[in-house]
Subunit: 339 residues, 2 copies
């Protein structure tokens, strides 16, 4: 592919074509550009430029007498300009829209996904940050009916997980508390990995309540596993059907299937820690998503955990608007979760 830089007039024209195509979803002709965007140039001139742009790989023609359609390369150029440092403003309306809808902290993530999808009218994804190296802060057994107890592990970051385990019928609340104290004393400050490894050592000292130890080991490994795989929520998946590029049912089906498969979905999301990313169709290397783009903005929680808010929609997407909305919701999330 030809990578010579293009002059500023070509770029202006290219941008105009993309803008128009984003609005209309149909191939853009030279006359449209000459009348709506570059009024000082005739359609013939535009035509020459468009012909050049096509040769350079920025435009494509669905068929000879249709207008031009931007290529992936064109979108790339377009969004790279948008992503130049400091050029993504926050959309205050998006922020307000989101803030109004958050009522319960427990489901901020879900709410964020819904708010983004409603606001942008695209499909939204929100990802909670991975947390590695969690350390146990407290470990406690809470009595439950019928010889069970609830094992609760709290980590230094405040993450909580619990599971029900069986214990000897004889153990009452006080006995369980005593065990909890001892366990906490031994295990506090250790990472979840450590805890799993150490349990062999302690089983002797504990004098037999292997059930409890097994429960702890299981829960610790589960927590470690869960905290290492990010949690991701999707909102407004039906929104894709708003767009003519997905009026083909087969395409829509493929799209929706990807959203329901966690693994594939994760593969769409960026793995770096860029403030913003835009991944355009084929760049993602997943056939079902060829007509799509994924736009994300990262948000910070605490010192070094970061998650993403994102939008998945057709490649023809008002990237500027979407980025601003994501930026706003992302920063709102940072504030809320940062406490």
């Amino acid at each position: 592919m030809d990578d010579r830089p293009i002059d500023s007039r070509k770029e202006r024209i290219l941008r105009a074509i993309i803008d128009d195509y984003i609005q209309t979803a149909s191939p853009v002709g030279s006359r449209t550009i000459s009348r709506k965007y570059e009024t000082s140039l005739s359609s013939a001139t535009i035509r020459n430029e468009m012909s050049d742009l096509e040769e350079l790989g920025y435009l494509a023609q669905p068929h000879v007498s249709a207008g031009r359609v931007p290529s992936v390369k064109a979108y790339r150029l377009y969004v790279d300009r948008l992503l130049e440092p400091g050029t993504v403003p926050q959309d205050p309306q998006a922020k307000a829209y989101f803030s109004q809808r958050v009522h319960q902290m427990e489901d901020v993530i879900t709410t964020a996904a819904q708010a983004i999808s409603e606001f942008t009218r695209y499909t939204a994804v929100v990802m909670m940050p991975k947390q590695l190296e969690l350390r146990v802060s407290t470990l406690q057994l809470v009595p439950m009916p019928r010889g069970s107890a609830l094992l609760v592990i709290v980590t230094d970051t405040g993450a909580i997980r619990d599971t029900v385990i069986r214990v000897s019928e004889g153990l009452d609340g006080d006995a369980l508390y005593a065990i909890s104290r001892m366990l906490t004393e031994h295990l506090a400050g250790r990472t979840l990995q450590d805890v799993q490894e150490m349990l062999g050592t302690y089983s002797r000292q504990m004098g037999g309540d292997a059930q409890v130890l097994q429960g702890i080991a299981d829960l610790a490994s589960q927590m470690a596993r869960q905290s290492a795989t990010d949690t991701v929520t999707v909102g407004g998946s039906h929104n894709i059907l708003n767009y003519p590029e997905y009026s083909d049912v087969e395409k829509a089906r493929a799209f929706l299937s990807v959203l329901e498969e966690k693994e594939k979905l994760m593969a769409l999301l960026p793995d770096g820690r860029d403030a913003f990313t835009v991944r355009i169709g084929p760049e993602m290397g997943m056939e079902e998503m060829d007509g799509c783009s994924v736009v994300t903005a990262s948000y910070q929680v605490g010192a070094d955990h970061n998650g993403f808010v994102g939008v998945i929609g057709p490649t023809r997407m008002p990237y500027g608007r979407v980025l601003s909305a994501l930026s706003a919701v992302g920063s709102a999330l940072s504030e809320m979760l940062g406490e």
Copy 2:
């Protein structure tokens, strides 16, 4: 509408029409029935019967030279036969399919929804039972970093909920345990409603730690609220796009939107406690769902809590097969959750 009973031959023909229509999704002609189902009758005879059935409201004609299509009334008759007591067998394949996929107890519900949707190739819904009148069994504060504590409430049914509350910095693990003991002593055996009401009374005795009491009140009310609204999970929503009746994108969009709105979704589910229900299109009184049916099977957890597994798909659905699959998964769920 005419409600005279129809004779057995008419019914056989009607059933044949429905069966054929379920397979092919296209209007059924008299000749098809005469050749594939009622080989002893000529197409002309079938034609006469079909004409009668149309007059009785069981069949409709999309246009004059098309075949007949079953009406809602016809489906009703058809499924009522299927639902006659003792006529829904369990599908062992469905049970196996589901059982193989369950690994972690925490997400049985999600797994069930996925398994059902994959197995039947329809959209699945699974509902956890409502639990009213929950009584507190244990109440415990678990120390957390930085002046917080985790408040855990366990109910007699084994339901667990927790929330983070702020406590005076001075309180260590032992102090929190002492408070937990006292709280449990006072509140054990009370319903969640009681707990909320009683908190006023105890605030005096507690000598000031209003934060803790407030936390309990909040959590109790939240638990009460959550346990009163059922949790429902959807799986395989994209499956609807497999069926030609939803190749119209607008219809598909409406369908998917309903699934994403909890309230509308709940309205589709039955509120009784029947072992099986089939609700056909217009019977649900929701325009978007006119071309759909909702089939559910209930499953029991404990003495008197029951939830549902269900399938949402086009009215033209192999009800027998779907019911058997649901029945199997439902009973598997009962076993798993019954412990």
